[in-house]
Amino acid sequence: MQEQVTGRAWVFGDSIDTDNMYPGYAMRMPVEQAAEHVFYAIRPEFASGVRPGDIVVAGRNFGIGSSRPVAQLFRQLGVAALVASEFNSLFFRNSVNFGLPAVTIPGVHEAIADGEQVRLDIRAARIERLAGGEPLQGAPLPEFVLEIVARGGLMAKLAADGYLPA
């Protein structure tokens, strides 16, 4: 896992739900194609504009909703990490289990402007604006969660442990 990522922030508000990121109709599509529909209604330019290494920043209750694997679509698009003031616990688990870092840093969506360049230290749960200013600090993820992320998600761990055919 890359512990320091620098990229552009895409900033969203509170209670961004899973159906917003991964609409029901896209569940019929292969992952590559479904990824083109992330934020289809509230931010239709996202999927074509996002660049590898970009960071999605959101407010409270990020990812309320379904167990559909949104993280798979973010990874497909090259999103490096999710940072939010607060995560829905199912969405949080679903992200790290797909190898996508999800870091809780209270107040982050108000402190960072959309489109701004930021540097995120995933292990330290710290984000700073390249333009300067005080870094924002969250509670670091437990070591075993960092390890799941570092291994690229749970499936990689299961494969290494012999649960999947070689």
Binding site: G24, I64, G65, N88, S89, L90, L154, Y163
Partner: protein, 413 residues
């Protein structure tokens, strides 16, 4: 030992004497449920699994298969249950929405931990279990290893008092709570209090199901006499009811007077701080009415729909879709004449599936349409076009809207 219901269950499942908010525990999972979508989207046959007796496979979200990908998923599911000797396999024909099938077959009993690849798994909290939805890779991992971790969240307790009026259902109780208190992100919800005894099991299940809509981790009820007799009719597995300790610590204790409630409606977009008594809601004209889902496709819900629609007609220009929560509910509804009453009134009674609830098949909404649903979720775009509006209410209020052609107080009928 000052533990809430959920804390006690997680303590037992993790082999700990005591757990409290903030603790991270690794739990043995008593039952894990795989759903059809898992096989259609991310399936690789495992080399070994933890225990075929602690696993169930339920075909629900997309049955009968509306796409070739879903049909291929069904093929993989059938190969898997055969290869690993999974006896609890609910294939098309003995299927139903997973949370209904879990209830009908006693797959979640008091004190147990249940996980499933669907966010509304909290439904089984109605049966005094610690039940929650997890993502597909985590459920796959539990299937392999038999365990997973939880961080114990603080618990919010709702003390129920009084008795609900006949027109008020579990959905209304939930919408009142969601409207008044908003989200419970990273919290558990526990229900109890003297009013519980008057709340039937189908209402409890509707309430527990919707815990996901206020972003809660686990939602749970105690196993009182009503609950135990419900379960004893459906399972002969032994269980140990779990009550909270008298000195359990709660993040908040909130009182609800069931007798003071009236029918509620949530406005489009979500339920949190967005639901009001029907008397305060605009009389919107509706295009589609939906009664179904794991929360409100139960036999009692179909009974209400049939009673409202019996001898009446669905208003011109309105579609009423009724989806039984399981094949068992469907056959019972046929037996009791509900299907006939609904069909004669102009409703469409579908096969049991998730269908319209998640905007996947059988009744999507077009741009500009207005829907009122008794299903679980009214996010923008949930049931089709992002330019459709979805109100949420009880089966009674939805059935009344189907007759009136607009959102009305069902007591006006």
């Amino acid at each position: 030992m000052s533990m809430t219901i959920i804390e006690k269950i997680l303590a037992r499942a993790s082999g700990s004497e005591r757990v409290g908010a903030g603790d991270i525990v690794v739990c043995e999972i008593d039952m894990t449920v795989l759903i059809d979508l898992q096989f259609a989207t991310m399936w690789a046959p495992p080399t070994r699994i933890a225990d075929p007796d602690r696993l169930a496979v339920i075909m629900d979200h997309a049955v009968p298969a509306p796409t070739v990908a879903d049909a291929d998923g069904g093929v993989r599911a059938r190969e898997f249950v055969k290869a690993f000797g999974i006896e609890r396999f609910f294939d098309v024909g003995r299927h139903g929405i997973c949370h209904q099938v879990i209830a009908e077959n006693g797959l979640a009993l008091p004190g147990e931990v249940l996980t499933c690849t669907d966010s509304h798994t909290c439904a089984a909290g109605a049966y005094n279990s610690a039940a929650r939805g997890l993502g597909p890779v985590e459920v796959y991992s539990i299937m392999c290893t038999g365990r997973t971790w939880f961080q114990v969240a603080p618990t919010i307790r709702y003390e129920l008092h009084g008795e609900r009026a006949a027109v008020v259902s579990g959905k209304d109780v939930f919408l009142h709570i969601a409207g008044a208190y908003g989200d419970a992100t990273n919290h558990n919800i526990e229900f109890g209090g003297p009013g519980l005894a008057s709340l039937p099991m189908h209402d409890r299940r509707a309430i527990a199901t919707q815990g996901a809509e206020v972003s809660a981790d686990f939602t749970t009820f105690p196993a009182d006499e009503l609950c135990r007799s419900y379960l004893d009719e459906r399972s002969d597995r032994p269980y140990q009811p779990v009550d909270p300790d008298p000195d359990a610590r709660y993040a908040a204790v909130r009182e609800v007077d069931l007798g003071a409630l009236e029918p509620y409606v949530a406005r489009p977009g979500g339920v949190s701080e967005n639901a009001l008594p029907v008397s305060q809601i605009e009389r919107r004209r509706v295009d589609q009415c939906f009664i179904g889902s794991c929360a409100n496709g139960q036999i009692e819900d179909l009974q209400i729909a049939a009673e409202v629609l019996g001898g009446r007609r669905v208003a011109p220009g309105v579609r009423l879709i009724v989806t039984p929560a399981s094949q068992a509910v469907y056959t019972e509804a046929v037996r009791r004449g509900y299907v006939e009453a609904l069909a004669e009134a102009g409703a469409i009674v579908t096969n049991s599936t998730c269908g319209a609830c998640f905007g996947y098949h059988m009744g999507l909404l077009g741009a500009g349409e207005v829907c009122i649903t008794a299903s679980t979720r009214n996010f923008r775009g949930r049931m089709g076009s992002p330019d459709a509006e979805i109100y949420m209410a009880s089966p009674y209020t939805v059935a009344a809207a189907a007759v009136a052609g607009e959102i009305i107080d069902p007591r006006e009928l």
